[in-house]
């Protein structure tokens, strides 16, 4: 059944290459119904998503989704574009999920987005405008709220220093002759509210007209109200913020309102800072000093991980591929076990085994002496990491090698045997090259993965042991990605996402470069064999 469908679809697409309307697939009502239903569901989800995104203030993504939805609808409804039907959604989503984040990362690398620069400028201004101060003559009152059955409110304000009281509602404040204890009800059916009941009517109470000599009285806590003045005013024309209390003028400098004498207002806001983050990478000695060492170790770690897992996995595969091996399924299952355990659990277990109370740690101390340490010695820590990574990765390599070995034609080996080749000659001249043709792309993928293997480093050594020569955030076993993490999140003033984006972009360039080189190399391999 499936086979038939596949054949049909391949026939269709084959026919479509010729172009023209006659290559259109046979038309069925049910097929059309399903297609329309599917499109309706997609459109419904997309329109909800778009509305949400607009509501969230992400119009660019929303527009992108609208365009994608339109293109998808068009492609699925137009019979001429049948060939694109199954390709388009994938390509468009690829752009949305891969290209867009990449562009966004590059954009972020030119901003100071991060802790203390998270809000937008408008949000910061809105927040600063709500800030108030008590003027020199500003009085503090205690307040009590009342409510009538038809939801009108009154507030009695009592000034404990002057002993004057006021009663206020929508029409304004009036003097009030307060008794020693305030009454439970006022004329007009007004009932006294408990602090909680009053506080839950915040909006209605704030709407009352409570002003004394044009100074607004605000309820600042469950018992107190104060005559308060706005602390800041912002002039969009001059882009200046004025502190009305101290008369200091602040101008925005790189996402922070700064006064002429260098005082800053927190919080700051996200703003473009030009190439500052890029400048830091090349000028900050904290970043440049350990970079070379970290870079070399990253390459060594990734390359050795691939080499060791591949060598070990391949040898296992060769053994398992031997037709004379008994109990093959059993061995295969046992060898494959490491791959079935979640790798972060395995990593933690191995870290425990290598620790001073773990069996490996204790055993190595008895052999190499008490001073030996897997954690304190940088070289041994690296050996430990490679060992653990090999253990985690070889089953995968074994699996793909087993598959690839099956596909090597046996007649070549028969010819080689007739020519009198030894087992070693057969392996290096036939098995390995033929295997590499099919396995090389996976090795490249594995390299790229290990290049960014943050999880293992963070779980096993956390980059340690620390670098004794410098005071940088790089440890002896930090790879580029964990080093980026340290720089951006763990070692500075909170999260510096702008800098993190900058370094991520560099890592992207490095990995992309290595991958392109590797693919060229593999292509040559394919041409040779």
């Amino acid at each position: 059944m499936l086979q038939q469908q596949l054949e049909r679809s391949s026939n269709n697409s084959g026919g479509n290459k010729g172009g023209g309307a006659q290559s259109r697939p046979s038309f069925s009502l049910r097929g059309l119904g399903l297609r329309l239903l599917g499109l309706a569901v997609i459109d419904a989800v997309a329109s909800l998503f778009v509305i949400t995104l607009f509501g969230d203030g992400l119009p660019i993504v929303a527009v992108a989704i609208i365009l994608i939805t339109i293109v998808v609808n068009w492609v699925f409804l137009s019979e001429q574009l049948y060939a694109l039907r199954w390709l388009t959604p994938g390509v468009l989503l690829l752009i949305l999920m891969v290209v867009y984040p990449l562009i966004y990362t590059i954009y972020s690398s030119f901003t100071n987005y991060g802790d203390s620069h998270r809000l937008t400028k408008d949000q910061v201004i809105a927040q600063l405008k709500t800030q108030t101060y008590q003027g020199a003559n500003g009085a503090t009152y205690s307040w009590t709220a009342y409510r009538s059955p038809d939801n009108k409110f009154k507030i009695i304000l009592q000034n404990p220093t002057t002993n004057k009281s006021f009663i206020g509602d929508e029409s304004g404040l009036k003097p009030y002759d307060a008794p020693a204890t305030l009454p439970a009800t006022l004329d007009g059916g007004f009932q006294k509210l408990t602090p909680f009941a009053a506080a839950s009517q915040e909006k209605q109470l704030a709407a009352l007209n409570l002003k004394n000599d044009q100074v607004a009285i605000q309820l600042i806590s469950s018992s107190q109200a104060q005559e308060l003045l706005s602390k800041y005013s912002f002039d969009p024309a001059t882009d200046k913020l004025t502190d009305l209390e101290s008369k200091v003028v602040y101008t925005p400098v790189k996402g922070t309102f700064t006064s002429s004498d260098g005082r800053e207002i927190q919080p700051g806001f996200t703003s473009l800072v030009g190439g500052e983050n890029y400048g830091r990478i090349f000028s900050d000695s904290n970043i440049t000093a350990p970079f070379f060492g970290v870079f070399v170790w990253t390459i060594v770690f990734a390359a050795m991980s691939v080499l060791l897992t591949f060598a070990f996995g391949l040898s296992m595969a060769l053994v398992l591929n031997d037709p004379q091996l008994p109990l093959k399924p059993l061995f295969r299952s046992l060898i494959f076990i490491p791959y079935t355990i979640p790798s972060f659990i395995s990593a933690l277990v191995w870290a425990g085994l290598f620790s001073i109370i773990g069996p490996v740690g204790i055993f190595s101390k008895t052999i190499f002496g008490d001073a030996f340490s897997w954690q304190a010695d940088p070289n041994w820590a690296k050996v430990m990491l490679l060992f653990i990574n090999t253990w985690l990765g070889y089953p995968y390599m074994m699996l793909i090698c087993l598959g690839a070995l099956q596909s090597i034609p046996t007649d070549m080996f028969e010819a080689a045997i007739l020519d009198g080749a030894t087992a070693i000659q057969k392996f290096f001249s036939l098995t390995l090259p033929l295997l590499l043709v099919s396995v090389a792309p996976l090795l490249i993928a594995s390299f790229a993965f290990n290049f960014n293997n943050f999880g293992l480093i963070n779980l096993v050594t956390k980059g340690g042991p620390p670098d004794s020569a410098t005071t940088t955030p790089a440890g002896k076993t930090d790879i580029l990605i964990s080093y980026t993490f340290n720089l951006a999140f763990a070692s500075g003033k909170g999260s510096d996402l702008g800098l993190a984006s900058t370094i991520s972009f560099f890592i992207f360039l490095i990995v992309a470069g290595i991958t392109i080189f590797n693919f060229r190399f593999t292509k040559r391999l394919e041409e040779v064999f």
Binding site: L48, L77, L119, G268, S355, I356, Q375, A376, P466, A490
Partner: protein
């Protein structure tokens, strides 16, 4: 023939799409289409059910359902994106205090954030409903949302239930992983999806204030009823940002079978440790982990060093950093000499230290109250004592837990009233202590509590609050590395603390 059919279907589809879009926009649409939209919405999101009670008019039910779904989806997307950063962003500072929370965070983030998405949608729905159709004022106007971690939510729930019953005000406890509360607030708050109140630790304050997501508050006359160390912990730039309820600090734990009387001075401790090691009773008399500067702060202050100098009012002065002061160097040399004398060992992590104590393989450690539950289960006869005096009285770091006010809450006055008139009362503080036994910050509750908690509390009373400046994550990093290097005997103690201080000062500027 087929082409005609196809065109007719496209037309129907186009109409359906337009109807959907219109319905979703909240405009008037044909009744059929509105129903369709409602069905889709209900199918896509479970949150649609929350729309029912909050919507008054039946005709608008469909529109609100769509709006709710929209909100829920956003929350879910934000949750999903932040889940990644959350797992990554567990800082050294919080791991010290909340080891368990941090380790489980990675595993559980997915689950709580999803629920977060579903429930936080509720208040927003109410808001949508009010703007669309003015609902007559009812006693339940406003829904106070509190973000809290799972353990404390269980402790607070009965109290809240009681409060709701008495005052008829809607309060929602939203559970999140502990670290997520801080990280989500930084993201969700500015997007308008924040809570009114969060429950968190005092060392978050600086970070949250510089991000503009929490508001200062005023305890009025009640401030006097709080332990000064707890209110100092929540003070940043001279303003109070939290209502503290519990404090915790490390103290000395000793094995009563091995050490009948706890040492009073550091020299005594070293003598006892040496005797125990020489007699072969334990491999290590006193154990200290090398990877947690937090645990060594008591040593630093005991030898006269400091991290930040203090102002006369008890708050820190972040400009005066003292890891390489004379006392700081004495502390570094002390660790160095103890390692050289075999009284401390390198490569010991927190779990190794706790494990050794549970198995009776070490007689004395410095650790916090979070270890007690585990320790009780192990059956070791332990005692809790103040940390022995060095050249001066040691002051451990004190972590303070408390309630903070979100800048983006919709019920600010209610939230303030809730904190000052409900939380900061004898009954509530007592109930919080009973449900979540940390040493109370509320002085009237400090009498008549569990002996272990009181012993840790006595240590906390002598301590310094955990600094809440946002640069602290950088301080932990270099300070921790310098201690590790001394333990590993790779760098001279003097140089280790001097180098670390140089790097830290550069960050503090």
């Amino acid at each position: 023939m087929t082409n005609k059919l196809f065109r007719r279907f496209s037309l129907i589809l186009a109409v359906m799409m337009m109807a959907l879009v219109l319905a979703a926009c909240g405009e008037t649409a044909t009744p059929n289409a509105t129903t369709a939209a409602a069905t889709t919405a209900a199918a896509t999101s479970a949150a649609a059910t929350t729309a029912a009670p909050t919507t008054a008019a039946a005709t608008t039910a469909a529109t609100t359902a769509v709006a709710t779904t929209a909100v829920a989806t956003t929350a879910a997307t934000t949750a999903a994106t932040t889940a990644v950063t959350t797992v990554v962003a567990t800082t050294a500072a919080t791991t010290a205090a909340t080891t368990t929370a941090a380790t489980t965070a990675a595993v559980t983030t997915a689950a709580p954030t999803t629920t977060a998405a579903a429930t936080t949608a509720a208040p927003t729905t109410a808001a949508v409903a009010t703007t669309a159709t003015p609902i007559p004022q009812a006693s339940s106007e406003g829904n106070l949302v509190i973000w809290v971690d799972d353990g404390r939510a269980k402790a607070l729930q009965p109290l809240i239930d009681n409060f709701v019953k008495q005052n008829g005000i809607k309060v929602t406890l939203q559970t999140l992983a502990f670290g997520d509360i801080r990280d989500q607030l930084k993201l969700a708050g500015p997007a308008g999806k924040g809570p009114d109140i969060i429950v968190g630790a005092n060392d978050w304050v600086g970070e949250l204030v510089t991000n503009g997501v929490i508001d200062p508050l005023d305890l009025g006359a009640k401030a006097k009823s709080f332990d000064p160390v707890s209110t100092n912990g929540f003070t940043y730039n001279g303003k109070l940002y939290g209502v503290p309820y519990g404090t915790e600090a490390v103290a000395m734990l000793y094995n009563k079978d091995l050490v009948p009387n706890p040492p009073k001075t550091w020299d005594e401790l070293k003598t006892i440790a040496k005797q125990l090691q020489d007699s072969g009773k334990v491999p290590q008399g006193y154990t200290l982990q090398q990877d947690s500067p937090y645990h060594t702060y008591a040593l630093l202050t005991g030898f006269g060093g400091y991290i930040f100098a203090k102002n006369p009012d008890g708050t820190y002065n972040p400009k005066d950093f003292g890891l390489d002061s004379a006392g700081g160097k004495a502390y570094a040399e002390q660790i160095d000499s103890m390692v050289k004398a075999g009284l401390l060992k390198k490569d010991v992590t927190g779990s190794i230290m706790e494990d050794a104590f549970k198995k009776g393989q070490t007689a004395m450690i410095i650790d916090g109250p979070w270890f007690i539950k585990d320790l009780k289960a192990s059956g070791v006869k332990y005692g809790v004592a103040n940390i022995p005096t060095m050249t001066t009285t040691p002051r451990p770091f004190v972590g303070v837990q408390g309630f903070m006010l979100s800048s983006f809450g919709k019920n600010k006055l209610l939230a303030k009233t809730f904190l000052t008139d409900f939380i900061a009362t004898d009954d509530t503080m007592k109930a919080i202590y009973t449900a979540d036994p940390r040493f109370p910050a509320w002085i009237p509750t400090q009498a008549g509590i569990d002996a272990d908690v009181a012993a840790f509390g006595a240590s906390a009373k002598t301590g310094d609050p955990l600094p809440n400046v946002p640069q602290m994550s950088g301080v932990w990093d270099n300070w921790g590395k310098s201690v590790t290097l001394i333990f590993q005997q790779q760098v001279a103690p003097d140089k280790a603390v001097t180098d670390a201080s140089t790097a830290i000062r550069a960050k503090l500027q």
